[in-house]
Symmetry: C2
Subunit: 315 residues, 2 copies
């Protein structure tokens, strides 16, 4: 049976990149080139998972002609999709690259009508059992309540489908503390978010990860950037050492690591394989100019260079 | 009979405006607001002509989902359109407004397939006789030959429909010097372009306008910004004095003046009426934050405050 991955992006975007020489404020710039692609964290996950050979489908909410542009772009790259269509338009995210600087203008996205919240829940409920694993990535659209990801977790949990959740800030904190009855399989917090959830910062990070308020979540992957990561798996914490690289564009490495993790789970149930593939995909992406793209040779090479070492355990 | 105006925009755009506080290079900016509208010089003409009560239709070339977005936007503002649809996508033009600065990123637009050149000529040939006046505005799409506007002028001339041409640089120079057999009714050069066409800069502007190389064109409108304009009509040159205003956003004032001129022609064949309405529409637009928009009360008021005075005549 093929392993099937569903990536959820509730607030996707058209990513637009303009390479411009000597970009300055208060000038008129002619952009002779532009690169446009379907964007948003879960779509990056899907793109890399697709490259790694998983059968992947994107879902979430799109709207208007920009939404149609986005699904056309996914079609062109042979990525399956199954979005809920809203009357609210899909947003644009613009990046201007100039002599080493990157200037970004990120639209927040349109306010979603309340009815779309319910329509997407129904849609998710209908399709979730067709998949072996779900990833949920990014922020909630304007107008969506804080508990929306908990609702998605409840639906997936009821149907026995594991969910990797990659969100941040208040929504992550809320979802972690309100999901003991429907735990995500994995979260990807940063150190500040761990501090907020555990309300402690007097313990080292490894021991904070063992806090009981996080105990219902099997995998916690905490990136330390070029220093690798900490992984809490069940009641143990591991340090993950990665090979040194010179990053070209680290944007999307977190999304790529989620794709690598999904690939690992599709291959075996061994936690260290999932961790290794996660890290290998993250580093491979950082070596590419394109966001959400890995070179398969790099991915294979790095998979064998990841060192996992236990550093803490629940006492 | 209703007076019918056709505005031609071969290279239209979606205009996007982001108001952003403290916009700086190399930062990530969240755009909480954005304003998107159908754009391009001929579309500004159409918008203002529509506000002045003319029956107006936009034509030109659009493509892809962004092109569909553009025509949807025209539908929302009740502006008729009749575009040729190309496989090449419609472009975006982005303006970032921040504390008095305006940073613009203008996509050049996709390369148009050669077949689209012919398709638009055929389309123009089919529809042109349905209109009383044509305006052609802006630059040629990538891949179009320098003589393309001459071809449009030939088609319109053969069917007896007058054309106002608002383009610039080399294409203007080429079109003016190659259209003695199919002259435009009006051009809107700047002083440098006049210099180039007449190959003189030792005469004052008024006398340059009387150069025989421009003699086939009945109306030449040369904007002097806040100092009004010079108008050459047939063998006489007029100075046009305008009331003093404090401009809010002068972008689109040239397009608005073309709409005003068209409105003038629709009302009477008197050249000074057309000139007055042209100037009144231009100033009214400069008082608005929105590009390609006039307040009708301002327009009426200013129409009575324009002073036209003869300054030169062919000897």
């Amino acid at each position: 049976m093929t392993f099937k991955l569903l990536t959820v992006t509730l607030n996707p975007a058209i990513d637009i990149n303009y390479p411009i020489k000597n970009f300055e404020v208060n000038t008129v710039q002619r952009a002779s080139e532009d690169y446009k692609s379907a964007g948003g964290k879960g779509i990056n996950v899907a793109r890399v998972a697709n490259e790694l050979g998983l059968s992947v489908t994107c879902t979430g909410i799109i709207g208007g002609k920009f939404g149609e542009w986005l699904t056309n772009n996914l079609d062109e790259t042979n990525i399956k999709h199954d979005f809920t269509v809203s009357p609210a338009s899909t947003r644009l995210c613009i990046a201007i690259n100039s002599e080493g600087s990157q200037t970004e203008i990120l639209e927040s996205g349109a306010l979603q009508p309340e009815e779309i919240q319910t329509r997407f829940l129904d849609h998710f409920n209908t399709i979730v059992s067709n998949y072996d694993l779900i990833t949920i990535s990014g922020s909630l659209p304007k107008g969506f309540p804080e508990n929306y990801y908990v609702k998605l977790l409840e639906i997936a949990h009821k149907q026995g489908i594991p969910v990797c959740l990659d969100t941040s800030g208040k929504v992550l904190n809320y979802t972690v503390t309100h999901s003991t009855h429907c735990p995500p399989l994995l979260i990807k917090p940063n150190d500040e978010e761990i501090n907020e959830i555990t309300s402690t910062d007097n313990l080292d990070l490894a021991n904070q990860l063992l806090d009981e308020r996080l105990a219902h979540i099997p995998y916690i992957l905490l990136s330390l950037g070029k220093n690798g990561a900490l992984l809490r798996y069940k009641d143990e914490v591991y340090n993950i050492d990665i090979p040194k690289i010179i990053a070209v564009n680290p944007v999307g490495s977190g999304d790529s690591s989620l794709a690598g993790f999904s690939y690992g789970l599709s291959q075996s149930n061994s936690f260290d394989k999932a961790a290794k593939f996660a890290m290998a995909a993250g580093i491979s992406n950082a070596l590419e100019a394109r966001t959400g793209h890995v070179d398969l040779d790099n991915f294979k090479k790095f998979s064998n260079q990841i060192i996992i070492e236990k550093v803490a355990k629940t006492s």
